[in-house]
């Protein structure tokens, strides 16, 4: 490590002002601070120093995502095996099947997203921000496994430019970049983002006889029956155990509630995510699901799913833990966080149950509340000011 540092320090002057490659300063700086913690500190004014810089924050979130990511890869292989009826394979065979299926997507997301970030930082003479480290892994995880790479590249480019860079880059975006990518894909290429063809990777093999490729929520939305029976890809009904651990088709990162809970534990123990948003989000979703379940009607078959299963199905758990808690796009005030989380939970279930066009509502709910987060903060701050003004007037 010392030798590497010496070598890098040797070429450093060429990237400083006046050096040969001074135009590439921000690229060099990005890699330099990625490898070594910078020892420069601010010299003027009062600053709070914390070892938890944005690089460490991002890496912690990526760590929290790892359980979901690894499980998702295995699940792709498992669903493939179930769908083709070719079940006798080892754990590692299934895992690597999924790994190779999603690797191109992960690489595409990172190359396109980071490429744009590097170019923009270079053009503006900014330092390179780390924001895309998390988005790059989140984006493939919330898309169906069969999403073509070129679509992903178009969507990533769109969302990084129009949701993030035009507003000033990392930390200034008001919409969650990963969700904008998914929303773009969802509206631009609907046939690739929903239905029963895209969530299970069949490869070149023919499907088994009893094969159904729809996600449980998709099956419910189009079933028209009043009984909540959801089947796996092999046609056998799913138990709550299957749903909780995530043995069903879906966008590959978000099926396992169990792995999401591990990620949640990492995020909460390191203080990265706001427990206020998550708690109120789960309460909001549970109450909404309970309400919908009590007034269940055959017109909206999803309402027949019981509340606890609702929480574990689809992308809700993933969205509330990893998307809603994004500190840049969420509310900043404490009261605001409760309102924000509660509305995300309630809206996600509301859309899921009553808009039969969208089998899952978590994406739309989070994006909508992203737009309202500044307004909520504004109202909370102003009501606080008014309350304190009243107190001051009363005393004088």
């Amino acid at each position: 490590m010392k030798g590497l540092k010496q070598r890098i320090d040797k070429v450093k002057p060429q990237f400083e002002k006046g050096g040969r490659f001074s135009k590439l300063h921000s690229v060099f700086d990005g890699f330099y601070t990625f490898l070594f913690t910078p020892n420069e500190t601010s010299r003027s004014g009062v600053h709070i120093h914390d070892s938890n810089d944005s690089k460490r924050t991002m890496i912690t979130v990526v760590l929290a995502l790892l359980p979901c990511c690894l499980f998702g890869m295995w699940n792709i292989g498992y669903q493939h095996a179930l769908a083709t009826g070719d079940i006798d394979h080892s754990f590692f065979h299934l895992f690597f099947y999924g790994f190779w299926a999603v690797l191109p997507q992960i690489v595409t997301a990172y190359v396109v997203g980071l490429g744009i970030e590097f170019i923009v930082a270079q053009l503006r003479g900014h330092e390179i921000q780390e924001g895309f480290l998390v988005s790059g892994i989140l984006i493939p995880m919330i898309c169906p496994v069969d999403t073509p790479c070129w679509m992903l590249a178009v969507a990533v480019a769109f969302s990084v430019i129009f949701a993030k860079e035009v507003f000033g880059g990392t930390g200034y975006n008001f919409l969650n970049v990963a969700l904008v990518t998914r929303a773009f894909l969802f509206f631009a290429y609907p046939s690739q983002m929903s239905g029963d063809k895209v969530f299970v990777n069949l490869g070149d093999m023919p499907a088994a006889d009893a094969f159904t490729g729809a996600t449980p929520l998709g099956q419910m939305a189009s079933s028209g029956t009043s009984e909540a029976i959801m089947t796996g890809v092999n046609g056998l009904p799913l138990s709550f155990h299957d749903i909780f651990f995530g043995f069903y088709p879906g966008s590959w990162g978000e099926t396992s509630t169990f792995c999401i809970l591990i990620g949640l534990a990492i995020l909460l123990s390191t203080g990265m995510a706001s427990w206020k948003i998550i708690t109120s989000g789960i309460v909001g979703a549970f109450l909404m699901a309970l309400l919908a379940h009590n007034f269940a009607s055959p017109l909206y078959p999803v309402t027949y799913i019981d509340p606890l299963t609702q929480l574990c199905l689809g992308g809700f758990a993933f969205a509330i833990v990893f998307m809603a808690t994004d500190p840049v796009t969420a509310c900043r005030t404490n009261t605001g966080k409760y309102i924000y989380g509660f509305l995300i939970g309630a809206l996600a279930i509301l859309i899921r149950c009553y808009n039969t066009g969208y089998p899952e509502g978590a994406m739309l709910a989070v994006l909508l509340m992203n737009c309202f987060a500044p307004l909520i903060d504004y109202c909370v701050v102003n009501s606080n000011i008014n309350r304190r003004l009243k107190r001051a007037v009363a005393k004088s």
């Binding site: 178009v154 509206f187 631009a188 290429y189």
Partner: protein, 206 residues
């Protein structure tokens, strides 16, 4: 600059003083009629015709219109011209007329037309007013056609209804971008044009 004032009235609205991307007027119809090139082009011609003749008529009448009722007079002139355009379109190109539906009628409320009548025709002679009308109509039309070009090409794979994206692209997994057909992408396309335009004309940057 030694271009005559008349010529400036014609040329300025094309870029430096463009009604859509500089004055940000007429955005509503720019979003509504630009999903395909053909209606966008017809809309351009209609607006240009209405604007040019309304400018001339108002300019001729400008000394006889009492100030207190000038808006009503302008509206009557514009409405009459729009009805003529609407009828002509129905007679000659019924399909496009149906595709444009209410938006031909809504030319009456297009801010560009009222804006030019108020700002230019009320204080200028008929010939410059005519040129100003043509210039603004075309300035509006350029943006419409550019937006419609990208929206039709990327959203439907066609231009003027003819297939442009070759079939083997589709065979290799290419798909039309459904989002381009939706109104939000028209807004984003206009934003991109403004972006390019502003970065080429530094003096317009705020």
């Amino acid at each position: 600059m030694n271009i005559s004032k008349d010529l400036q009235a014609l040329i300025n609205p094309l870029s430096k003083d463009n009604p859509v991307i500089v004055q940000v007027l007429g955005i509503c119809s720019a979003l509504a009629v630009t999903a395909k090139l053909e209606p966008a082009l017809v809309m351009t011609i209609s607006v240009t015709a209405v604007l040019a003749f309304a400018n001339v008529i108002i300019s001729l009448l400008r000394n006889t219109i009492p100030t207190s009722i000038r808006i009503i007079v302008q509206l009557v002139v514009v409405a009459a011209l729009v009805v003529i355009v609407d009828q002509v379109l129905k007679a000659w190109n019924y399909e496009v007329s149906k595709a444009l539906s209410v938006f031909i009628g809504l030319i009456i409320t297009n801010c560009i037309i009222m804006g030019r009548l108020e700002a230019f025709a009320m204080t200028n002679r008929p010939w410059p007013a005519f040129l100003d009308g043509i210039g603004n109509g075309l300035g509006y039309g350029i943006i419409l056609v550019i937006v419609a070009f990208f929206r039709e090409l990327l959203g439907s794979g066609t231009l003027f209804g003819c297939q442009v994206i070759p079939q083997w692209w589709y065979d290799h997994g290419y798909q039309n971008n459904g989002m381009m057909i939706l109104p939000p992408m028209a807004l984003i396309t206009v934003a991109c044009i403004i972006w390019v335009h502003r970065s080429r004309n530094k003096d317009l940057q705020e």
